[in-house]
Symmetry: C2
Subunit: 342 residues, 2 copies
DNA sequence: CTGTTAGCGCCTTCAA
DNA sequence: TTGAAGGCGCTAACAG
């Protein structure tokens, strides 16, 4: 049905190799035949068959994004999709496509999927959620010299390339802001020790306190799930301490909502009596009362950089890329400093 | 580097066609050679080159999801990514991959991208956001008999296949709930006439009122943007009416947040004095005060169905699929009926 | 049951 | 500047 290079050659009265030449812009073609061929291409609506090109060029101009796309994930983790959008954008600029590799939840199956994708040459490179990277995957990636970037540093030391945000720096930004407002008793609510991001943010929290000559107190650190009751329960205990905090750093905006509810029950005012800062600028952050001061991370541009880095690795597979890109920034709203009058 | 079918054939001491046979499970192969070949495959870690297979089979086992992946989209519209996740899941089960076709914001460029994807045979089918479908795209899709499903009914009448949620039915669910609680003066806040979904939901709102013998009042219908001040402003006017509503249906949960703030300023209680229902069950819906009663739509399963439908069209391209899948359901929370004690 | 052969559509030397 | 020819890795008749 669709036109092939042969059809174009016939219509332009040249051989297929000449057509191929003008299509790949290798001049050495007389301007008259060049034009004839261009016309034929336009007339026939000719676009090269991508499988044939991939086969002979040994490149699919496709990159895979390997992650798990389970139901409801976009609601709990829109960040991930902003990263995908960013990398897609960057890749597209260079003529690459982004394909999704929907990883099975079972690690063995996921490994198999990745190996399969690499060996079948479905893609020229892979972006892969660092969380899913196992030593077995590292081995195959390294052995085949397959261009890759892990999104988020893998949980074990490795020679893989990765890119990550500086979560520790994010905490630092938040703490610096709170300290500048005169706060000295800063609590940290939410998250779980099992979470890499939590550990990094917690580290930044502690380091930043120390840097500001504030001694960290264990009672001020409260990991919790996102369950509303649990958050309220824990926050209540926190506020009942002999020396309650004067400000709270929340692991995410959902936690913040719970914390705020608990604070209301104590009839404390935000930000006059207690300030709140949280991570992640969800669309509702400015809408809740009080509007949330937030440390935001530009995930889209993380994706952009990941895409650009992968493109570099495709050019030069033995290059090692391991970077923290520091993109957090503070968005100041009513939960720390009163701006707007409602 | 990677093994080819030739390597396997050599190692197993057979011809490549025999290898091909066992790989595609067309028996007619003696069990002894079968085993020899399997062993060779395993030993060499052989996986067929997908470009070569695509070229000869004329099928890439890839499907495209065409939409615009601009920065921040996942936060404003996580639904879209839940649909993507659902379709990816369905497709994967049948051995298909989902690739992203990141549409340019300019309609002409977007058309070009789609045409290019079809002609280059990069994919066997396409899922495409109905919003981006133009008559030009319809023409090429129909002319090439290219398997497609529009996600969301296109804005013009067409012979394309599409799948959509029954937004009108969603409204009906909400109204029925409110009426069952004894409400008679039901307002509808938020959305824009230019929005297809708005028009459908609005239609459902009106029809449902009529079905319940409630006469719609123009003053109760207030389209607005998601800007907080605007929402509050409009809601305030609504509440100042001689006969204010006893319940409000909000176009989405962001609107609901603004509406609730405005109501607070009037010192009205929710749900005692006024009830709130909104669309879309965002993660924060249960967290805000009061927790929101919501009509939720299972977008993941919409994706699942879209994927399944596309697969059918790939089998049978001339099949016409145009369905409203009715998946909304009501999640009852404190903004209409008091459940929990805080 | 197995091997030979002819492509799929394109790129790329190598001659002319 | 152009054309002929030989693959890329695989499948699918067609013989044997």
């Amino acid at each position: 049905m669709a036109a092939t290079i042969k059809d174009v050659a016939k219509k332009a009265n040249v051989s297929i190799s000449t057509v191929s030449r003008v299509l790949s812009n290798q001049m050495h073609v007389s301007s008259s035949t060049y034009k004839r061929i261009q016309d034929a291409v336009a007339e026939l609506n000719y676009i090269p068959n991508s499988s044939a090109v991939s086969l002979v060029k040994k490149s699919s101009t496709t990159v895979l994004y390997a992650d798990s796309f389970y139901k409801g994930r976009p609601y709990e983790n829109p960040h991930m999709f902003d990263i995908i959008s960013g990398s897609s954008h960057e890749l597209r600029k260079k003529g690459y496509f982004l394909g999704l590799l929907d990883l099975d939840c079972s690690k063995e199956k996921a490994e198999e999927q990745i190996i399969n994708a690499i060996q079948s040459k479905k893609a020229d490179g892979i972006l892969i959620n660092g969380y899913y990277v196992t030593p077995a995957i590292e081995k195959i990636l390294l052995a085949t010299d397959f261009p890759h970037i892990c999104i988020g540093k893998p949980s074990f030391d490795s020679m893989l390339s990765w890119i990550d945000t500086n979560h520790s720096l994010s905490s630092n930004l938040a703490i610096t802001h709170l300290v500048s407002l005169g706060h000295k008793k800063i609590a940290f609510v939410g998250g779980s020790d099992k979470d890499n991001i939590y550990r990094d943010r917690f580290l930044g929290y502690r380091l930043s306190l120390e840097r500001n000559n504030l001694s960290p107190r264990d009672a001020y650190v409260i990991p919790t799930s996102c369950n509303l009751e649990e958050i309220i329960q824990h926050t209540t205990e926190l506020l009942r301490l002999p020396e309650p905090p004067d400000s709270i750093l929340c692991f995410n905006s959902l936690i913040a909502v719970g914390v705020i509810q608990a604070i209301r029950q104590f009839h404390l005012r935000i930000p006059e009596d207690i300030s709140i800062v949280s991570f992640d600028n969800y669309p509702y952050a400015p809408l809740i009362t009080p509007s949330l001061t937030v440390v935001d991370i530009d995930m889209y541009s993380l994706g952009t950089r990941a895409g650009a880095s992968l493109l570099k690795k495709i050019q030069n597979p033995e290059m090692l890329i391991q970077t923290y890109t520091a993109l957090p920034h503070l968005i100041q709203r009513d939960s720390t400093v009163l701006h707007s009058e409602t």
